[in-house]
Amino acid sequence: MSVQPILEAEHLVKVFPIGGFFGGGQLTAVDDISFQIPGDKPAIVTLLGESGSGKSTIARMLLHLIKPTTGEIRYKGKDLKRMSWHEKQTYRREVQAVFQDPYGAYNPFYRVNHVLAVPLKKFKLASSLEEMRRIMAEAMEAVGLRPEEVLDRYPHQLSGGQRQRLMIARCLPMEPRIIVADEPVSMIDASLRAGILDVFLELKRKYEMSLLFVTHDLSVAYYLSDTMIVLYDGRVVERGDAEAIVRRGVHPYVQLLMSSVPLPNPEKRWKERLDLKATDLRRRAESRTGCVFNNRCPRHWEKCAKTPPEMISLESEHEVACHLYS
């Protein structure tokens, strides 16, 4: 690859201390994860995983809300840890966030204009009140809101879909290169969800923004993503373009996921009962010496408990970490 990726995560590790009155243990939430968002063209990269897979921890590290234990995050080639104050300001402006809960994101006492105005003031993007209102209105239009229906309202007067659109609109005046969106549609009603997804696609197409999309929802990920990174217990198990993962996914975990996703089609119900005891008695592997999926894997063998599998390339844009394919 000749063009430098815009964002690179390299060997990211995050260890949290947990519980116990006497010292307690450690929980490895993110275990040596590397990925990148390409710099040559905008892309939607999805981190897909179930609860506890580390997907949100990665998003929070990228947003600089928590620090990685080890590993590097590079933006336009520059390590986040070595950035000057000015570079960090630029990073904070160009990498924006949209979170899960559009109900909790607003202060109910302020009009919704407030959430849009804060970053405009902070980054001094408007020189007058009129200009500020004009910028706000433009941003609202870009996400499919009618400013006259939204400006000067209070949060409780807007629907969840409108509020989430507004959270996206809030990012736009900063002209971000990347939006990190953590489960942005999981609290939005089904009939309105598609509209929000289209806003993201539109931002990519029209404004050339990339998206790091964090979700547990395979169907949504499939529709939206260029690249899908499937996480399990803090590690990447498989990655590739969306079509490769969904149609030709090979990791036993990915295959289990694919067979368990319910389809909105009663003619295609699950054929057999899932073996229950294997799936969730132990939430996490006891030791991290082998493959993280080892104790739930229907196809594990000796090697799986001993050595963690390396990433192996299967085809272009499709890699898996599994001993079955090495």
């Binding site: 179930e50 009939s191 289209d198 319910p262 389809l263 909105p264 009663p266 119900r269």
Partner: protein, 321 residues
């Protein structure tokens, strides 16, 4: 389709919320019949009234929610007219309820086994030993390991706790189980296990179930009959296979087009507009302001529920069939 015996029937049920601005008509004139050994799905978006309906039919509506009218018949007996003691006796033994986010309803300072034993002892003459044996059987049924009985809720994962609650709900072999959003917030594989546990109750207990969830894919996996709610009313109802193959109501069709699926990579399409405020629901059909096919009479005349095909009911003025 052979018509099995009716177990549970709701007639013209209305449940409103009292507010200063007037009643919010969250459930407005809802009727349906549930047959023995049938899984009935109630689907709809948040705010459509499906959870309120579940509470109202179990007589669990609490202020500011109240039942404005209607009948809830379990084997011919109106639950809404029962005295408190008879109602108490019916709970758990005839009808049981698995509330929303029920994995958080367990008592955190009691072992799971003791909580199940409590329920059994409160409603039957069973001794502790019998109750404990029953608890073990129940865990077998929802495929939980026996050692989990001896644990506290925090030691179990969300999916296991959810199944423990299901085990408790069926402890006394009720003929009807109502589960509100039983799989929301669970991981995909765990969701499958929970749904399969629920649907197996149909065979193992001969029970009927009402599954309330917004998740159309989860509904498609296990229910026999599905009702779609919109703005406090059932707009369409029928055999699940036929309904997914050929949805009649424009709202149902919109809802199905709005959900992405891994079956095919197609563009999901939102339904324009937002659900109405139920303080002042629109005149006529409640969906007409968002409906792509609305006609003049849709805004004045409320469509009645009618059977357009065998085992298919729709409340829409348009001609379907």
């Amino acid at each position: 389709m052979s018509q099995r015996e009716a177990l549970f029937e709701i007639r013209n049920l209305k449940a409103y919320y009292r507010t200063e601005a007037g009643p919010v008509r969250a459930v407005d004139d809802v009727s349906f019949i549930l047959r023995k050994n049938e899984i009935f799905g109630l689907a709809g978006e948040s705010g459509c009234g499906k959870s309120t309906l579940a509470l109202a039919m179990l007589r669990l509506a609490r202020p500011p929610c109240y039942v404005e009218g209607g009948e809830v018949l379990l084997e011919g007996k109106d639950l809404l007219k029962l005295d408190d003691e008879s109602l108490r006796q019916m709970r758990w033994t005839r009808i049981s309820y698995i509330p929303q986010s029920s994995m958080n309803t367990l008592n955190p300072v009691m072992k799971i086994r003791d909580q199940i034993v409590d329920v059994i002892k409160a409603h039957t003459a069973a001794r502790v030993k019998e109750a404990r044996n029953r608890a073990a059987e129940l865990f077998e049924m929802v495929a939980l390991p026996n050692e989990a009985l001896n644990m506290y809720p925090h030691e179990l994962s969300g999916g296991m706790r959810q199944r423990a609650v299901i085990a408790m709900a069926v402890a006394l072999k009720p003929s009807l189980i109502v589960a509100d959003e039983p799989t929301t917030a669970l991981d995909v594989n765990v969701q499958r296990v929970v749904l399969q546990s629920l649907s197996s109750l149909k065979e193992s207990l001969g029970a009927s179930l009402i599954i309330v969830t917004h998740d159309m894919a989860a509904q498609a996996e296990i229910v026999d009959k599905l009702a779609i709610m919109y703005a406090g009313k059932i707009v369409e109802m029928g055999d699940v296979h036929s309904l997914y193959k050929q949805p009649f109501h424009p709202y149902t069709r919109g809802l199905m087009q709005a959900i992405p699926t891994i079956e095919e990579r197609r563009k999901p399409i939102s339904i324009p507009g937002v659900p109405p405020n139920l303080l002042k629901p629109p005149q006529g059909c409640r969906f007409h302001p968002r409906c792509p096919e609305s006609e003049e009479r849709c805004s004045t005349e409320e469509p009645a529920m009618r059977e357009v095909k065998p085992s298919r009911w729709v409340a829409c003025h348009r001609d379907h069939g």
